[in-house]
């Protein structure tokens, strides 16, 4: 059974219908973390976050404290919040910006104080119409409340926060493409090196880019101490995490769970969580960390929900999205839909991703819809290999950014795990599930 005794850190207001309002937020301890932070030295605030060992919640899982410590000292530096959550089946930031925008805003101000930056940009996915409205309202309220703007709560610290809606490109979730878009340019990822925006970021200045959920953890961490956060979870995976459960489960949704203490079996099958599969269905596979992650089979259901625990098995916890595929689903179709997404969202800047994604999508389309050839199966693997040489995990890449090696994950997983299904499609001349 699932272990559900940990405190809720980022979804504590989930039962309030007015959780997004300033009044509810203040009633439930809102902005106390910020008030406390402002009594501390900025470096001590950063030290608490470091002590919490908070791993970035955007997908890569880089420790937030370490990222902050890499910020190059400069007269101008920026904090940018990445809220461009656009991947199919990933919707935990969506929940946070709509349901608890003040928590995000408070976290952002705490981070800005710790980093001593005076300008923050929140880059939100443009399709988050309600989220944009609520975050903007929260910012307006925070300004009116004295929690934002000049001389916050009477302290000497001032910061401004601007919300910037994205224009509809998944690639802008890649942090350097996000920075380009924020600068008003085409959302093309920047080539590395320089590897870290903390050295060369927005307008060439040092910039910390953190995820919405990462920021939303900060009020609790400052209020309760980094040690309390680090006491939750195990190993490198501390605290709790939001998981977006999707696919063939009875009860899809966003769940906050203590890291490592629960397994994929718990979140998918516990009646309080996913509630299991539909009657008569069995689990065929699941994607442990978003559609750019390699798939797991049912034999890995007891893997704990921890970064290294999943990483050690050749996939990733990634964006915290878990997609359940049951035995009635067509893995070829699922794979085609995923490749279609990446093909549509490839920015087109570098060759292997631009041309590879389109080629793979078209070959997958033929396999699923008729016209598949037996040689397509190995051709697909070889095309994948030309994007992510060796098809290892973590992947190597011939592309500029990691969107490239995201494309092969599902194709490689599906063919490796279910080659028979592909063969059946070729032999049937289309999808046998239709």
């Amino acid at each position: 059974m699932a272990v559900l005794d940990a405190p809720l850190i980022v979804s504590s207001r989930r039962d309030y219908a007015d959780s997004f309002t300033l009044s509810r937020y203040l009633e439930t301890g809102g902005y106390e973390g910020l008030r406390k932070a402002l009594t501390m030295f900025p470096e001590d605030v950063a030290a608490e976050v470091d002590k919490a060992s908070l791993l970035g919640r955007g997908g890569a899982g880089f420790p937030a404290g370490r990222k902050w410590s890499m910020l190059r000292r400069s007269p101008i530096s920026y904090l940018v919040v990445n809220g461009d959550e656009s991947e199919p089946a990933t919707f935990k930031d969506h929940y946070l910006v709509e349901r608890d925008p003040h928590q995000l805003v408070e976290g952002v101000i705490i981070a800005a104080y710790a980093l001593q930056v005076s300008q923050v940009f929140i880059f939100l996915r443009g399709e988050f119409a309600l989220g944009l409205e609520r975050v903007q309202q929260a910012l307006n309220d925070a300004y009116a409340h004295g929690a934002l703007g000049s001389k916050i709560f009477g302290s000497d610290f001032s910061v401004d926060v601007v919300v910037h809606p994205g224009a509809g490109a998944y690639i802008c979730g890649e942090e350097t493409a996000l920075l380009e878009a924020l600068e008003g340019k085409r959302g093309f990822p920047r080539i590395k090196p320089p590897f870290f925006p903390a050295v060369t970021g927005l307008y060439g200045e040092p910039t910390v880019v953190n995820n919405v959920e990462t920021m939303s953890n900060l009020p609790w961490i400052i209020s309760n101490g980094g040690a309390a956060f680090a006491a939750l979870g195990a190993g490198r995976s501390t605290g709790t995490r939001l998981f977006a459960l999707a696919g063939n489960v009875k009860n899809p949704g966003v769940f906050e769970l203590e890291m490592v203490k629960n397994t994929f079996r718990d979140i998918i099958f516990d009646p309080a969580l996913g509630g299991g599969l539909a009657e008569g269905r069995t689990l065929k596979a699941f994607i442990p960390g978003g559609v750019s992650a390699p798939w797991f089979g049912p034999e890995l259901l007891d893997t704990p929900l921890g970064q290294d625990e999943v990483g050690g098995l050749g996939s990733m916890l990634g964006s915290g999205s878990i997609v359940v595929i049951d035995d009635a689903s067509c893995v070829v179709r699922a794979t085609w839909r995923i490749t279609k997404f990446f093909s549509r969202e490839s920015c087109g800047q570098c060759t292997p991703c631009r041309e590879g994604s389109g080629w793979i999508e078209r070959a997958m389309y033929r396999l699923e819809n008729g016209g598949g050839r037996m040689e397509d199966i190995d051709l697909l693997l070889d095309l994948c290999d030309n994007i992510a040489p060796g098809l290892t995990w973590p992947p190597q890449q011939t592309t500029i950014c990691v969107l490239g090696p995201s494309i092969p994950s599902s194709v490689h997983s599906a063919i490796s795990m279910f080659r028979d299904d592909f063969v059946a499609h070729v032999n049937y001349g289309g999808c046998p599930h239709d």
């Binding site: 085409r186 080539i191 920015c347 800047q349 041309e355 051709l379 095309l383 011939t398």
Partner: protein, 863 residues
């Protein structure tokens, strides 16, 4: 300043130790070490972007060997690189296969076929069979993105060379990517076509056939072409070019990567006017610039009639004898000659006849002795100077590739530009300081820069003057780019300003922006009053410049005039005077093209032109390079050297200069001016006269970066050995070298400004009604009609908006003209482009000028 000690970086390439320069890109270091890494998006003259991924190599790092783009990675100490492992080959083959996936198989009908980097790489490394079984991407093909460039989006491999060139190099970000994924395309804005004057460069650097040039499309196959390396003489920058022909038909001009001059770039005028040379076999109207003069003509019963050379030369000699003494003979023009041609004419006209009235400048230049006395700067000096002061016209319109070189310095390297500005300029937005100069104020602003005291009434503030003066110091590290910014302002005012700057900033050096092709060479060969061959000056001599000659002709004092070039009327500002002069004097016109001026000619001697002749030319910085013939001259046109020699013989003297080689030898032996030595090495970036510049061996031109050049059969083009033995070019052996003591300046009083009038700035446009443009079908339509530019507030007074038509009251009469507002026009002035016609085809500019005054004032009124 001490030189920074640069230690080499030690790297390993394919197991071999290699020394690289700090900051060098891996792709370059590996190439020097003999490991050529394939590439598409990389271009040595642009910042790398690493997008095509063709240059992936294995680089050892903390996490083992990873694939990295060699074009983007800078070398670092101890770097170990493998360029030929199986993993690298697989990655590169994969990228090539991806590039070909959507690339159409239309090589047989593609202009690039035969010189295409993608085709070459595919032939060398590609698989013989495609694995791509899908429908290829489709676009409408091709689309016209500008007047000269077509885009076939199906062929595009998204290397971003063209977009980077447009935005980063030219500063004309008119093309950019639109769409995404494999439907990404290069696109223009719906309201802004790709009308950059540098658009042709994108065609040259396109690594596939996506961008094609309208004039060249389908006109030849690369394997039928032959080329020579030469120097473009469309303007005075002296860009090195590869001139290509199919048989005796010119097909294409491509930019050669000359380090000190053009970096491989050209302007569209230099690139595309070649059709003014050989595209008009059926044109016969000698009054049209589109017509090539192919036979000697003599006026018989009022008509120009074709005759033999012997008859024409005898007639010309008779006219010269008939004129009387040497004072009654003069010559105007010569900027289009080679140095050898100019030298031969100078030896005939001054040496044999004894005339001092020679002038290669069309009344739009500067005092020739002042020019020769100025301490010179090279283009490189200007492009590397910490501070550049400009007092010149819009360089993008006048000397486009010089604009590119300077733009790079200001835009990419953030060096300081101070603009003394009388009209809008393309460098304006990059200037640290802009000091507005109204017509007539040029000398007083120059004096203020030296003395620190501003006269009353200028638009310059004391604070800004102080800032500029502190940047200028004593001129150390300052290059001053000077020319005629305003042809309606008396030349003597500009001469005075330049002399003031030169004497007040003794450490500054000058780059003079005379824009006519080989005008510098012609002056260096003595085609100017008081000048002598080899950049010499005869301090005691007096001679008439163009304006004085025209007056003398009109008054009957100068009775015979040799026009070296046939476009006098199209070039001098004072049309009325020119017509009177040409009517009064005997006229011997030596020209390759027809033109309105020939209506006044008594004898027309047909000359070979650019790309038809051998010789040397000198660019605006004083660099002597070789021009080479690619095609034969039409009909019985002769080289200038031959015409001068034969006319001298007919007149009665053997110059002993019967061939280009003899001329070059004579120039070098008698004056020390580089000629024969340059002529003997065509693939050479030349010697700069007056400066000790060490010739540098040229880099091999990468066929991936300069497609179309390396793949074409060559006569004398390629890497220069750089071993040419030069004479010591820092001294000249002939008559005395010019000093400021030889400069005779005349002070000119400027009338007070009329508060109700606007002062006229006559500017230049690249696309004007000159011979090259009129003769070129590709470019002729790009000449825009005359408009008057004014500052918005000056138009507000009249209650009119931009685009309105106004009544102009000018010295030459009243007429109507369209006005356009521009915030960067100096208040109280208006700007009109010389060499343009209004919508009705009338040359209203000629009527604007008040030649009786050193500045021209106009009144605008509502209709």
């Amino acid at each position: 300043m001490t030189d920074v000690i640069r230690t080499n970086v030690n790297i390993t390439v394919d197991g071999r130790p290699v020394q690289a320069q700090p900051g060098e890109l891996l792709i370059e270091a590996a190439e020097r070490a003999g490991s050529y890494i394939p590439r598409f998006c990389y271009h040595p003259r642009m910042e790398p972007v690493g997008v095509c991924r063709m240059c992936l190599v294995e680089v050892e790092g903390p996490r083992g060997a990873t694939l990295q783009p060699a074009c983007y990675l800078k070398v670092s100490e101890g770097m170990s690189v493998t360029t030929d492992s199986d993993k690298v080959k697989k990655a590169q083959d994969g990228v090539l296969e991806f590039l070909l996936a959507n690339h159409p198989l239309d090589c047989p009908v593609c202009d690039k076929g035969g010189e295409c980097p993608l085709q070459d790489q595919t032939l060398a490394h590609g698989s013989g069979e495609t694995r791509f079984a899908e429908e290829k991407r489709h676009f409408v093909k091709p689309i016209e993105i500008g007047a000269l460039v077509l885009l076939d989006r199906e062929r595009c491999i998204q290397c971003a060379r063209c977009t980077r060139f447009a935005s980063d190099v030219a500063g004309d970000a008119q093309i950019a990517f639109a769409g995404r994924g494999d439907l990404i395309e290069v696109a223009t804005s719906p309201t802004q076509p790709f009308d950059s004057v540098f658009s042709g460069n994108t065609v040259q650097i396109c690594p596939v056939g996506a961008l094609t040039a309208k004039p060249y499309r389908f006109s030849a196959r690369p394997w039928d072409l032959e080329q020579v390396e030469s120097t473009c003489t469309t303007c005075a920058v002296g860009c090195r070019v590869a001139v290509q022909s199919s048989g005796n038909r010119l097909t294409r001009v491509l930019g050669v990567d000359s380090e000190p001059v053009n970096h491989g770039w050209l302007c569209d005028k230099g690139r595309f006017t070649l059709d003014s040379i050989d595209a008009h076999e059926d044109a016969t109207d000698v009054l049209s610039a589109a017509t090539r003069i192919t036979e000697p003509l003599v006026r018989r019963n009022g008509e120009l009639t074709a005759v033999s050379w012997g008859v024409a030369l005898a007639e010309a000699a008779r006219l010269l004898h008939e004129a009387g003494d040497a004072d009654a003979i003069g010559s105007i023009g010569g900027a289009a000659l080679t140095n050898e041609g100019a030298f031969a004419w100078e030896r005939f006209l001054r040496g044999a006849i004894g005339s001092e009235h020679l002038d290669a400048q069309f009344d739009d230049g500067l005092d020739p002795v002042l020019l020769q006395a100025l301490p010179l700067a090279t283009i490189d000096d200007a492009a590397n100077a910490p501070v550049v002061l400009t007092l010149t016209g819009d360089l993008r319109q006048e000397l486009p590739v010089l604009f590119l070189r300077l733009r790079e310095s200001f835009a990419q390297k953030h060096r300081t530009l101070i603009e003394l500005s009388s009209a809008p300029s393309a460098l304006r937005s990059l200037a640290r300081h802009v000091l507005s100069v109204r017509p007539g104020e040029t000398p007083s602003i120059a004096h203020a820069l030296i003395s620190g005291h501003l006269p009353v009434g200028t638009l310059v503030s004391d604070a800004e003057l102080d800032q500029v003066r502190s940047l200028l110091g004593d001129g150390s590290g300052v290059v001053i780019v000077v020319g005629r910014a305003n042809l309606a302002e008396d030349q003597r005012l500009v001469d005075e300003a330049i002399a003031t700057l030169a004497q007040g900033l003794p450490q500054a050096r000058f780059l003079v922006t005379l824009r006519r092709s080989n005008v510098r060479g012609a002056l260096d060969m003595g085609l100017g009053p008081r000048l002598r061959p080899g950049r010499g000056v005869d301090a005691a001599a007096t001679g008439r410049d163009t304006h004085a000659q025209l007056s003398a002709m009109a008054q009957g004092v100068q009775r015979a005039t040799v026009l070296l070039g046939g476009s006098l009327l199209g070039n001098v500002v004072d049309q009325e005077l020119a017509s009177a002069a040409l009517t009064a004097s005997s006229v011997i016109a030596v020209t390759g093209h027809g033109g309105a001026t020939l209506a006044f000619a008594d004898v027309v001697l047909p000359a070979s032109v650019q790309h038809e002749r051998v010789g040397t030319v000198t660019n605006l910085e004083g660099r002597v390079t070789a021009v080479a013939p690619k095609i034969g001259a039409p009909g019985s046109a002769w080289p200038d050297v031959a015409i001068a020699s034969e006319l001298a013989l007919a007149w009665g003297q053997d110059l002993g200069l019967g061939s280009v080689e003899l001329c070059a030898q004579a120039i070098e032996e008698t004056t020390g001016y580089a000629a024969l030595s340059v002529l003997q090495d065509q693939a050479f970036d030349g010697a700069v006269m007056g400066l000790a510049v060490t010739p540098v061996a040229r880099h091999a031109m990468d066929p991936m970066a300069f497609p179309g050049i390396r793949s074409t059969k060559t006569a004398g083009l390629g890497e220069s050995s750089g071993t040419t033995t030069l004479l010591d070019s820092s001294t000249t052996a002939s008559t005395s070298v010019a000093t400021f003591a030889d400069v005779h300046l005349t002070r000119v009083d400027v009338p007070l400004a009329d508060a109700y009038a606007l002062r006229l700035v006559l500017s230049r446009r690249l696309y004007d009604r000159g011979v090259a443009m009129q003769g070129s079908p590709a470019l002729a339509e790009l000449v825009e009609p005359t408009t008057l530019l004014v500052h918005p507030s000056d138009l507000d007074h009249l209650g009119l908006a931009s685009g309105a038509r106004v009544q102009v009251r000018a010295a030459g009469g009243d007429f109507e003209i369209g006005v356009v507002t521009d915030e960067t026009v100096v208040r109280g002035t208006c700007v009109a482009p010389l060499g343009t016609l209004d919508e009705t085809g009338a040359n209203v500019i000629a009527s604007l000028l008040d030649s009786s005054s050193p500045v021209t004032q106009l009144r605008l009124e509502t209709r």
